[in-house]
Every structure is written in structure tokens, then in C-alpha cells.
Symmetry: C2
Subunit: 219 residues, 2 copies
């Protein structure tokens, strides 16, 4: 009946990660240990280990004797990361197509339906949620632990850029048919087509990023 089932270090890490992902700390902003202690309500020791953990996740950078700051991901890096995500999610999609069960196929179909309705109703926030649900379901079907871990950390590094991207007008109209193609391929148990569909999909995201780059990028 211990009041704490998780260690202070873990809670501090999760809290800090959330704060960075929410944008409460901006890219490049310094993370002074003493301030984090107050903010997170932990000792300096735990704050430090939290920082080191987030270095491993690619969210924070530490320079010796100069402290930690939120990692700044340039657009070029964001494109590289997206390229890597493309091949990883392609691998996962192919494997999902090899392993999908009947009830998982039904779940995919349902998400597809909901997505189409969300786009028709112009409920973009809802569509964005369904997007995450779809990718997450595909990963669950594939059950590829190694790829999952990497995709998760890469996603973390991209939150900022992806958020901007989702605001691009006309994006759902472009991505809906891509999502439907992915769903169809996995349901048809066609690994090659599933991989191709997923890669095309994420590749179009990378292309959109390159477009933003040309338009001026972010502050």
C-alpha cells in the first residue's frame, strides 16, 4: 500500500517530457537545474537524471559545463527524421499485413469510416486523433518492439514540426485517400502494397515539410 509506486526520477522525467512536448519550454531554451527542481518538485539529483533520460530521447542536449537546453530540430533534421520514420513505419505496415487478424481488420475498417466522416464534417481535430489511432493500431498489429521504440522517440522529436504541419490547409483531403490505401492493403494481407502505401503517405508529409522550408521555415 505504498503511496509511491513510481520513483521520483521517473515522475520528473515524464513531467518534464510533457512540458517540453506541450511547448512550455521552447526549442533552444535553457533548462537550469535549480529551476527544474522547483518546477518538478524534486531534488537536483532527480532533475539531473531526468535531463539525462531526455537526452537519450533526443529532446534535450547537454553541453559540458554549460548546461542543458531543449534540443532545436532544424527543418533539415526534421526531414531526415521523417525519412527514417517513413522506412520504419513502412516496415511495420508490411508486418501488420502479414499478421493482421479478422477482428483487427474490422477495427481498421472502422477507423477508416470514422476518418472519412471526420473529413466530410471538417472536424480536423478529430481527424488528427484518428490519424494517431490508426498509426498506433498498425503498430500494435505488427508487434515489432524495436521499430516501435524508435518510432516513438522520433515522433517526440518532431512534435513541434508536425503540429505546424497539421495546420496546413487542405492536408486532410490529401492524406485521407493515403490512409484508406494503407487500410485496404493491410486488410488484404498484402505486405508489399502496405509498405508502399505507408511510405507514400509519410513521404508526402516529408514533401510538405520541404515545402514549408522553401516558404521560410520556423522562427
Amino acid at each position: 500500500m505504498s503511496p509511491e509506486r513510481t520513483s521520483a526520477a521517473v515522475r520528473a522525467r515524464d513531467k518534464l517530457r510533457e512540458a517540453i512536448l506541450r511547448g512550455e519550454y521552447l526549442p533552444g531554451e535553457r533548462l537550469v537545474e535549480a529551476q527544474l527542481c522547483e518546477r518538478l518538485g524534486v531534488s537536483r539529483f532527480n532533475a539531473r537524471t531526468a535531463l539525462q533520460d531526455l537526452v537519450a530521447e533526443g529532446l534535450v542536449e547537454i553541453q559540458r559545463n554549460k548546461g542543458a537546453h531543449v534540443r532545436k530540430v532544424s527543418i533539415d533534421e526534421a526531414i531526415e527524421i521523417t525519412e527514417v520514420r517513413m522506412v520504419l513505419e513502412g516496415l511495420v505496415a508490411a508486418r501488420a499485413a502479414e499478421r493482421v487478424t479478422a477482428e483487427q481488420a474490422a477495427e481498421l475498417e472502422e477507423i477508416g469510416q470514422l476518418m472519412r466522416r471526420a473529413v466530410e464534417a471538417e472536424e480536423f481535430r478529430r481527424y488528427s486523433d484518428l490519424n494517431q489511432r490508426l498509426h498506433s493500431l498498425v503498430r500494435r498489429i505488427a508487434g515489432h518492439t524495436t521499430a516501435d521504440r524508435l518510432i516513438a522517440t522520433l515522433r517526440g522529436q518532431l512534435v513541434r514540426h508536425q503540429y505546424m504541419l497539421s495546420l496546413l490547409p487542405g492536408r486532410p483531403a490529401v492524406s485521407l485517400p493515403q490512409h484508406e490505401r494503407i487500410i485496404a492493403a493491410i486488410r488484404a494481407a498484402d505486405p508489399k502494397e502496405a509498405e508502399a502505401a505507408m511510405r507514400d503517405h509519410i513521404n508526402s508529409v516529408a514533401a510538405a515539410m520541404r515545402g514549408m522550408d522553401v516558404l521560410g521555415g520556423l522562427p
Copy 2:
């Protein structure tokens, strides 16, 4: 003229990584902090940070209150890791084909020649070195920082399994034509073919691993 240009923590991390990769610590073996202090000649603080760094690289696992041990990579995991390497190196090969310069093409050609001679002379150790040189050159040509980092850490987790694999009889005879196909595709500036060739190559490595699995795996 400072005697130390690198911190003790960094040196400790590199030393420990080397020791693990050389097999001086076996998978599953406990890494007691006090012992590491002696072995690495650093304080407990630095030994701890070295351990945490290697956790991030996937070489070490830490259980709360139970200490650190060398991570044990099962054959199933090794296959997963190799699958991920397959798509990552495929991506890198494709990009190398897009960016290769004339002199890099010549360097590729030279490695190809040396490989063929090494196989003919049955100098397998030399062939293995050339193998690493080839993959490393392809990465350098591609210049994909993000993929490089991931590939490096994945390779680290596999050293043990790959070593066993390289001892498999007849392996060079199988992989030589695959390597030559990769080289030809990159020299021909054909990204799709380069990716396909690289994936076939690494996929055959994964297949060999699965074969070992059936045969009983490792101790």
C-alpha cells in the same frame, strides 16, 4: 596543454563500451558499480553516468535497486534489430545513389575489387573488414546523420550475434555478389535498385539468423 581534453565520464563510457563489445563482460553479467570504479579508474558518480549512457545505447539494462547488467539480446530481438537495419541501410543506400560523386564511385569500385580478391584468397578476416568499410563508405556518401546514429547503436547491440554469423561457412560466397550488386547500383546512381540490393543483402543476413535460431541458438 591540459592533460585531459575529455571528461572522465566520457572516457569511462567509451572504455566500458569497448569492454562489453569485446565480450569481456558477457550478456546478462552484472555490472557492479564498485567494481566498475576500479576497472575504469573513475569515481562511482562517473561509473553511474557511464552506465546510464550505455542504457541509452541499448547495451546495458538497469533495474531499480537491483543494479545494471549487460543487456541480453535474444535471437528474436536480433532478428527485429536486423530488420530495422535492413530498412535503414536501404534508405541510406538509396540516398548514396542520389549523391555519389565520381571519386566516391571509384572508391566503391576499388572496395569491390578487393572484396572479390579476398574471397578468392579465402582471407575471410580481411573480407569482413572490407565489409565494414563498404557499409561505412555508403553511409558517408549518403550523409544521413539521423539514420547513421540509429544504425550505429543497432550495430552495437548486435556485435555478438554478427560475430557468430560471420563464422558461418559459405557466408562470403553468398554475400559477395550481393555486395557487388549494391556497389553497381550506387555507381549507376540508381536509388531504387540500390535500396533493393541493400535490403536483399541484409535480409539474407536475417534469414541466416533465423536459420541459427532453428538450429538451437546460442548458449
